[in-house]
Amino acid sequence: MNEGTILLVEDNPDDEKLTLRALKKNNIANPVKVVRDGQEALDYLFAPNSKLPSVVLLDLKLPKIGGLEVLKRLRADAARKVVPVVILTSSKEESDLLGGYSLGANSYIRKPVDFGQFSEAVRQLGMYWLVLNEAPPQDGLRAAQAKA
């Protein structure tokens, strides 16, 4: 079991609460860092000597800086581009799907209205990214940071 952080980028407090509840309900005990907008997300990710989260749950419609822009800057950075990013959004618009995947998102999940389904989706996300998936090594980050 991966002990890494989950970075939740979500501006809607209701959705935040529901997501956290879903995580708890499914016994995912990893620390969760919540940021409310794109700027906060970038500040957190690009803070000096920061640890890479095990997965970023990224909403697209965010104030200040949008989700796709955050993803773009993340993928542009040599050290941080390895972070798994799961886009978690209401939108199923083709433009968003295309944008997300072309910018290098690892996955694109549409938030269902039904909470049961939502909970199930979160459970599967947790199981996959925190249990099954191998997180990128932290050493890589430090090595890249040393190089930078």
Binding site: N12, D14, D15, K17, L18, K92, E93, V113, D114, F115
Partner: protein, 517 residues
């Protein structure tokens, strides 16, 4: 100058030339004829006169000779009077003669006659005197003078003949000249005709040709074509046409430009409107769903965490709240899908309806493999339209048929084409729940349902989607049904008739039956 005159002018010129030439030739001919006639007359007169003189002198000689023999003066007086007559004739004739040579010859004749007269007189005197020696001498002298006269008369005749021959020769030469002139005239006429031809071609055919080409070119789409201004300036009908055409071409070009501008504006407006719709759909998909999630999620939390504090009534209420929220989610999705149908671009191609229907039915079967459904599709069903939209249309119709036959143990679904109301239309038919024809008007309206959610699930957007697709293709759709007997949904896809490659009578539609898994 008018066109008619331009063509007439060279012809008039030629006719004039011919007339002048003919007149000149005729005059020449007449002159020659007259000349010849005059000469011929002169010859005749000369010959007659010479003949007369000869006769006179022959008579006289005969008389003189006979007088010498028998000294009887017979017709001396008569001959003398004839002689006098000849004298007068000669005198009269001499007045008209202009030719110096002829004049000289005539003078010689007159002189000879004088000598003859004198010698004749002397002879007669000698004969009267009776001296034989003198008679002979006088006779010889008289004979010599007579010979001289003959010679002069012969010379005179010869000259006349010679003059006549010359005149004839000249006449012949003159005729030849006339013929030559005639030939030159013909050649000139041909040259003028050729010149006229080129002239007409230059001033009529070529400008007309350019006009025709210009018009054809303009009609073919080259709106910048204009007729050469030089043609336009010509004052005849062709010039007028060219002027009118150039003006018209300019006007059309301007109109076109104006139209294009307006089309541009209109297109820009449409694009702007479309963009607005897109962003609206985007907002809807995002902003409306989030509160729904909240409603559903927190209701569930209430259910789960406060189950002891909430009684069955309360739990029922919460269930309804959640159901409503979820339904609204579906509605939003459906509306979005419907609006997306109106926005997308259509690409027209040949679509195999049979193959599409087959694949959709296969998908439906895979979701509910236990159902027994007989599915038939007519072979060779092709249509022209947007493949994606047509697929959506068939999905909706077939899913409906699948759904509304689910209450029956067996079901029949058929896809084909038929002659309806004078045109060929495609159809999807089932023998399921059907509908009351009294409600047929509401069938294709969005969210209108003829069955309750408990009977058959659905939002009522399927047929509205079908109608939208059909509308975008410029076709129409309608339905026929009977309660519990089934329903048939017809649709056309635009002005082009649906085509069946094979006649349905020749090849019966193939049947497929699903077997339980």
């Amino acid at each position: 100058m008018r066109l008619g005159y331009k063509i007439l002018l060279p012809q008039a010129l030629m006719i004039l030339l011919l007339l002048i030439a003919s007149a000149a030739l005729l005059r020449d001919l007449k002159q020659q004829e007259e000349g010849l006639r005059a000469t011929s007359q002169r010859l005749e007169r000369d010959t007659r006169l010479a003949g007369l003189v000869k006769d006179v002198h022959t008579e006289t000689a005969v008389e003189v000779l006979s007088y010498r023999i028998d000294k009887k003066a017979r017709r001396i007086e008569a001959t003398l009077s004839a002689d006098r007559e000849a004298e007068n004739a000669l005198k009269r004739y001499a007045v008209d003669v202009t030719d110096p040579l002829q004049h000289a010859l005539m003078d010689a004749v007159v002189e000879s006659r004088d000598r003859i007269r004198r010698s004749r007189l002397a002879l007669i005197q000698a004969i009267d005197a009776g001296k034989e020696g003198e008679i002979q001498a006088a006779f010889d002298r008289w004979r010599i003078h007579r010979r001289l006269l003959d010679a002069s008369l012969n010379d005179w005749s010869a000259l006349s003949l010679y003059r006549f021959a010359s005149a004839s020769e000249e006449a012949i030469r003159g005729r030849a000249a006339i013929v030559r002139l005639l030939l030159y005239g013909v050649a000139l006429a041909i040259a003028i005709a050729a010149a006229a031809f080129f002239y007409v071609r230059l001033t009529v055919s070529r400008p007309l040709g350019m006009l025709v080409n210009g018009i054809a070119s303009f009609g073919g789409g080259k709106l910048g074509v204009r007729i050469d201004p030089r043609i336009q300036d010509s004052s005849d009908e062709v010039g007028q046409m060219a002027k009118a055409f150039n003006k018209m071409a300019l006007d059309i070009e301007d109109l076109n430009r104006g139209l294009e501008l307006r089309v541009h504006e209109r297109t820009a407006q449409l694009e702007a409107a479309n963009k607005e719709l897109e962003s609206f759909a985007y907002s809807v998909s995002h902003d409306l769903r989030a509160p729904l999630r909240t409603i559903d999620g927190f209701s569930k939390i209430l259910e789960e965490d406060y189950s002891e504090k909430v009684d069955e009534e309360g739990r029922d209420s919460l269930r309804r709240v959640r159901a409503a929220a979820q339904k609204m989610g579906h509605l939003i999705d459906d509306i979005l899908k419907l609006s997306r149908l109106s926005r997308s671009d259509m690409t027209y191609e040949q679509v195999d309806l049979g193959a599409l229907a087959d694949s959709i039915v296969a998908e439906l079967r895979s979701t509910e493999s236990t159902r027994r459904v007989t599915y038939r599709v007519a072979p060779g069903l092709v249509a022209r339209g947007d493949k994606t939209l047509i697929r959506i249309l068939l999905e909706n119709l077939l899913a409906n048929s699948w759904k509304f036959t689910s209450k029956h143990s067996t079901a029949q679904i058929e896809v084909g084409a038929a002659q309806k109301e004078g045109e060929l239309a495609y159809f999807v038919r089932d023998d399921g729940a059907g509908f009351d024809m009294a409600h047929v008007g509401a069938l294709f309206a969005p969210f209108q349902r003829l069955h309750g959610m408990s009977e058959f699930p659905g939002t009522g957007i399927g047929l509205a989607t079908v109608r939208r697709v059909v509308q975008r293709h410029g076709g129409r759709c309608w339905a026929e049904g009977e309660v519990e007997k089934g329903a048939t949904f017809y649709f056309t896809l635009g002005a082009q008739e649906p085509t069946l490659r094979l006649q349905q009578t020749q090849h019966p539609p193939h049947e497929r039956e699903a077997l339980p898994a």
